[in-house]
């Protein structure tokens, strides 16, 4: 097969979506969306509101059944991947009830639930995984604080720690940079690099183009279907972006703040 000439194709495929179609009671949300994501890469999923970013995530997590096409994660079906704790979802802050009486430790420990027995009793190894994850996001000293007492950026890091503690190989991040300060942004970008080196794949859903340029190796432009897919520098053309954003080319902010770091 001639594709083997490419060294990249020898890499293990984390996500393989093939001609995916999703419709909600007849309303087409996504059609013919194909995507192949290698292990150890950070991929930006860029599109307008309603372009199907959330639907794509939901399909990858098995929340919606594609009407056509198939998804393989680490070469397995989505439900098998779920049982292997392969997929972690990091939610937007707004989706979380911040007055819920749980501590940071409790939240990160939730990442280990899938690996525990049905009574969810943490073993020593689970505790170590939680401590390790909290250290990596620099929240260990906050572990006893209620989740609601954290700032937006810290909360985001706590949920990232949960995904790390889960030891998922595919991380789905929903608007990870919305409302975070520079310090958190820097920490997260370093973390992404580490996770990438571990061979994990990160899919970041965002409409913030400046961050995509900085953090993502590959980018997927979507508007109901995959419009363009490839290395960030190649895909980020004004023509492609105009297509993604329905004729309006958003001026990619040149990153005046982040470039000072």
């Amino acid at each position: 097969m001639d594709s083997y000439r490419n060294n990249a194709d020898l890499d293990f495929l984390r996500i393989e979506a093939d001609e995916l179609c999703v419709d909600y009671n007849g309303n087409l949300a996504l059609y013919d969306a194909s995507l192949k994501l290698k292990s150890g890469c950070v991929c930006g999923l860029v599109g307008m509101n309603g372009a199907g970013k959330t639907t794509f995530f939901k399909a990858l997590m098995g929340f919606v059944r594609p009407s056509r096409g198939k998804i393989l994660i680490n070469g397995c079906s989505v439900s098998e991947a779920q049982k292997d704790q392969a997929v972690a979802y990091v939610p937007q802050n707004e989706c979380i009830d911040c007055s819920f009486p749980v501590s940071v430790w409790d939240v990160v420990m939730m990442g280990r639930y899938g690996a525990m027995n049905f009574l969810r009793m943490p073993r020593e190894s689970d505790k170590r995984a939680v401590i390790d994850a909290l250290e990596r996001v620099e929240l260990l000293e906050f572990r006893k604080r209620p989740i609601g007492s954290l700032s937006g950026g810290q909360r985001k890091r706590a949920f990232l720690a949960r995904a790390i503690a889960q030891r998922a190989s595919v991380l789905l991040l929903d608007e990870p940079f919305a409302g975070v300060d520079i310090r958190t942004e820097k920490l997260m970008s370093e973390l992404f690099l580490q996770l990438r080196q571990d061979g994990r794949s990160i899919l970041i859903s965002t409409h913030d183009l400046s961050h995509v340029r900085e953090f993502c190796d590959v980018v997927v432009l979507i508007n109901k279907t995959v419009l363009a897919y490839g290395n960030t520098s190649e895909v980020f053309t004004s023509e492609n972006l105009s297509m993604t954003f329905g004729g309006m080319t958003p001026e990619p902010i040149s990153g005046s703040i982040s470039s000072e770091i």
């Binding site: 997590m61 979802y89 009486p101 749980v102 501590s103 009574l119 609601g148």
Partner: protein, 289 residues
């Protein structure tokens, strides 16, 4: 109202009523039911299911009547109608454009009205007042056994699935993404809600049972930021309310159900005013503890 208990000594206040068999039984069953409903109330308040609790507890009414009429265990009928009402709410919500709280209100009043009509039509020895307002002082042996059996089921489910249910209330998306079947958890929680409503019905009656299912949780929620502590505090406040309520009802000859719920409401008011961090008086203003 008799206020004779104010002049009795604390010792005889507590011990005198215990000489009556019906009082010992009422205290036992009320505190048991109180503890179970208190534990469940944490999940109800955190999940935002207060209205759902109200709906299910009212909707079991026709089930209780039908079960009595047919000579079946009342809990069976109540359970069928409790779960049925929830399924109906879900179905109507999905298939129509009517908003959820409207559907809930619509379905439970419909079920409740059906229950009232059935009581008046089926001539039997069902005492409507007992169903509506509870009668822990006059509870029969078979009802005691049934109620304890129900409570044991609810407690076992809540203990075995406490982490899963907590996660489901907090972040259902994460629960699903790690392969936990949240649909099962959803209906499990609704089923034990129906069961707890039937148990609570024995002590405070259909109309006030929703208080048992939310007030202790709300009180505990004002007192702590830890889920485990919240469940313990809710159980304690709920059991305390039941015991105090039954005693006060005995000594001042007032309706037992109302008395229990009033104690619960008083405890909530105390927490609302004096809770260290979340009380409106803010007795402890430090935010970093």
């Amino acid at each position: 109202m008799h206020l004779s208990f104010l002049s009795t000594s604390p010792y005889s206040f507590l011990v005198d009523p215990l000489s009556h068999e019906f009082m010992r039984r009422a205290l036992m069953i009320s505190s048991f039911v109180g503890g179970v409903c208190g534990l469940l109330s944490c999940y109800m308040t955190l999940k935002g299911w207060a209205l759902m609790g109200d709906a299910v507890s009212h909707a079991v009414m026709p089930g209780v009547v039908v079960a009595y009429a047919l000579g079946l265990p009342f809990s069976l009928g109540a359970f069928v109608f409790g779960v049925g009402s929830v399924a109906l709410i879900g179905f109507v919500k999905q298939k129509s454009r009517v908003k959820e709280d409207t559907v809930i209100g619509l379905v439970f009043t419909g079920f409740f009205a059906l229950g009232l009509v059935l009581v008046s039509k089926i001539k039997s020895n069902i005492d409507l007042m007992h169903i509506l307002f509870g009668s822990p002082l006059g509870i029969s042996d078979s009802d005691v056994r049934q109620t304890i059996f129900i409570c044991l089921i609810v407690v076992s489910v809540l203990i075995i699935f406490r982490r899963d249910l907590m996660l489901y209330c907090f972040d259902a998306t994460h629960a699903r993404s790690i392969g936990i079947n949240t649909a099962v958890l959803h209906y499990l929680l609704l089923s034990i809600l129906s069961l707890a409503a039937v148990a609570g019905l024995q002590t405070v009656g259909i109309i006030l049972v929703v208080a048992m299912l939310i007030t202790p949780g709300a009180t505990a929620y004002l007192l702590t930021d830890r889920f485990d502590r919240m469940t313990i505090l809710a159980v304690i406040s709920s059991v305390l309310s039941s015991v105090l309520g039954v005693y006060i009802s005995y000594w001042s000859d007032i309706e037992t159900g109302g008395s229990i719920v009033l104690v619960q409401t008083t405890l909530f008011l105390l927490a609302f005013l004096f809770a260290p961090r979340y009380g409106i008086l803010k007795l402890n203003n430090s935010t970093n503890t």
